[in-house]
Symmetry: C2
Subunit: 399 residues, 2 copies
């Protein structure tokens, strides 16, 4: 029997999926499981996007341009221009989800053995793409006591070695919900220019900024045209996770030309998703206002409910729809499994994402979980009630 | 300015795309360009597949399972069982086009530096995925004089080194249209078992077999469960190139488990494409009969027209919708560019794919082109007429 690859062997399993069999078993027992573990919003996809599909006139679903349909890229450039990001359609490669934008960025910019610095906790799938590209993610720890702000610049600089080629951030952040301030972004600007690094900026939650805070994009950083690579997606913006449409955006012409060769090898991004994505750009502001109000209500409810539970600390996130939360438990992995395997309250339980999978420093996040507030407030209320009960009776409770 | 990666630098540009600017320029001049260069069929997508999209009831386009929707995988398993390929839905990972199936296969099975043997000419994008995975494709030459039959087994064995981990075939073949016989497949079986190799079998043209010939799948080879990885796609089968739905199919459980980790990192294959793909499995036989008759007519017309031109040799392909054709020209790259830049006949010209891009041995294919008979016979007639005229007046004509 031929052997699988080293890469395959070291490829990390998704930390969120490990619990899936337990959740399935709980459901088989007839238990209601509230999914606070995944970033799949329940928000409807904009009607005009679904209509575009229903009214599709094409008789043959053909390959698109490898960079995506020009009509879509032109509209997308307009969307970015509206955000003060001055790019044109030739500076955009439409990708298969934000995922492919990360993969193309790594493949294009990094050699095997190179290092990319990431504030941890970070989106766990960066590890998968790093493994695929043979590169190493070097974590610099952000702390729950500081609500997961950017670690001090000298902490970041300490991590820089000869192999360091870039910094990757997710802003607003998954899994913490932290929104980087303009000042923090300017600190990052300084460091990437000083050390000639790429800044890979995952901004798929751009539309989810709260409390009047404005999103400051890496593309807004002056003098960084050659350094900044924006990785984007329609998945969260329009609740279109399944269409698998993202984008790699940069003003670095060499990166664009090279990423295009990877794009050409896989022929084209999904054609139907592009129809949806293109139509979505006309989504009216009311849609976003409704979504904003909904998430504010969910967040406020959740943060208050969590912080009322003894021993629990939940920072109030300013963006995205996650919070990384400290729980009074011995081990959040064990607790999350116990919730599915052994616990029920009124025949209900919750599924959480243990935070350990979002840290790369061993031992960190042991008593933290990521909670996605992607449920309506009614469900969220039941979920919080069940969680509060669980924390009362969990055998591995720490205080 | 940070440097791009070695991989990025060595990533091959698509041989088909090099001529695109010349074709665009010809069109700007008002010239009609017949595209014989790409495998984009003009055959309509099955109506029932488009209807499935139009009737979609979902309000939110959500992530699917990372391996693809179970309902689709179950139907797909039924499709394979109908072909005598005994697999169940757990042995299928739905991929983003056949492209991703190739990438996942290489990433899962091969270490950087490993070698995969491919009969050349071969589908040029294998090079791109090989570069992405850091592996080397080692060519064994199949010859136009033998209509591109599988090279003798001892020629293949000569290429085996300590780093050889697999053989990749495309059957029916792109770019030659050659259909491997059962005897040839049994020879491959022998060699993969003897040397403990993977057999990566790209069978996306399975439905396009002519003259009563039957397709013999690598999955039909007895005793090769651990070795054979099938890479498939709906692109050609149902003329759905743009939906980007493919599949990685294998009975090797370790490969499945490992490929799933790559699949999980990218979350899910396109959701809308899966709706189309699933509906397409019910496509009635008449659709395939019509397509078959259409391609037989195109092929027969084209092969006859080409072989009538002095100095041209076109094998009669038994599968797919390509033929790799010998032309009486000094350099098929130059000739193809000349066709677009300088030639016109009744204000028409043709775009061909120079075969050099499908060979990895330098110098081979210099006077060969790949022709895709994806146009209706009317257009094909005009294209052949223009090509015949071009060969009369081309300055680099060899006889």
């Amino acid at each position: 029997m031929p052997r699988i690859s080293e890469k395959g062997r070291s490829m990390p399993a998704s930390p969120i999926r490990k619990l899936v069999p337990y959740a399935e078993e709980a459901k088989r027992k007839g238990r209601k499981v509230y999914h606070l573990n995944i970033g799949q919003p329940d928000i409807p996809t904009p009607e005009l996007a679904l209509d575009a599909l229903r009214n599709m006139q094409e008789k043959v679903i053909v390959y698109s341009h490898s960079a995506g349909n020009e009509s879509y890229r032109r509209k997308l450039a307009g969307y970015y221009q509206g955000l003060g990001i001055d790019v044109d359609h030739t500076e955009i490669i439409v990708t298969t989800g934000g995922s492919e934008a990360v993969l193309f960025s790594f493949m294009t910019c990094l050699n095997p053995g190179d290092e990319v610095i990431a504030p941890e906790p970070f989106y766990a799938n960066y590890n998968g793409f790093a493994t695929a590209a043979g590169v190493k993610i070097v974590a610099v720890t952000s702390k729950i006591e500081e609500d997961f702000a950017l670690p001090p610049i000298n902490e970041i600089e300490k991590k820089i070695t000869e192999r360091t080629k870039g910094i990757i951030i997710c802003n607003p952040n998954n899994p913490t919900g932290y929104l980087y301030t303009k000042e923090e972004m300017l600190q990052l600007r300084e460091i990437i220019l000083k050390h000639d690094l790429y800044l890979f900026s995952d901004e798929v939650y751009r539309e989810f900024c709260y409390d009047g805070e404005k999103h400051f994009s890496a593309m807004h950083l002056e003098g960084t045209s050659e350094n900044v690579i924006l990785m984007d997606s329609v998945s969260k913006r329009y609740s279109e996770c399944g269409v698998r449409i993202g984008a790699l955006v940069t003003r670095n012409r060499e990166v664009l030309d090279t990423a295009m060769k990877f794009a050409q090898a896989r022929l084209s991004p999904p054609g139907l998703g592009q129809i949806v994505g293109e139509a979505s750009i006309d989504t009216p502001q009311e849609y976003f206002d409704d979504v904003y109000n909904e998430y504010i209500a969910r967040r406020d409810f959740m943060v208050e409910a969590l912080n009322k539970m003894p021993g629990v600390y939940c920072p109030k996130p300013k963006g995205a729809f996650y919070s990384t939360v400290k729980l009074p438990v011995d081990d959040a992995d064990k607790f999350s499994q116990w919730l599915l395997e052994e616990f029920e309250y009124k025949n209900q339980t919750v599924m959480l994402a243990p935070a350990s999978g979002f840290y790369s420093t061993p031992g960190l996040g042991k008593n933290e979980v990521r909670i996605a507030y992607v449920l309506n407030t009614g469900d969220l209320k039941n979920a919080m009630e069940a969680l509060a009960e669980a924390l009362k009776v969990y055998p591995g409770k720490t205080k």
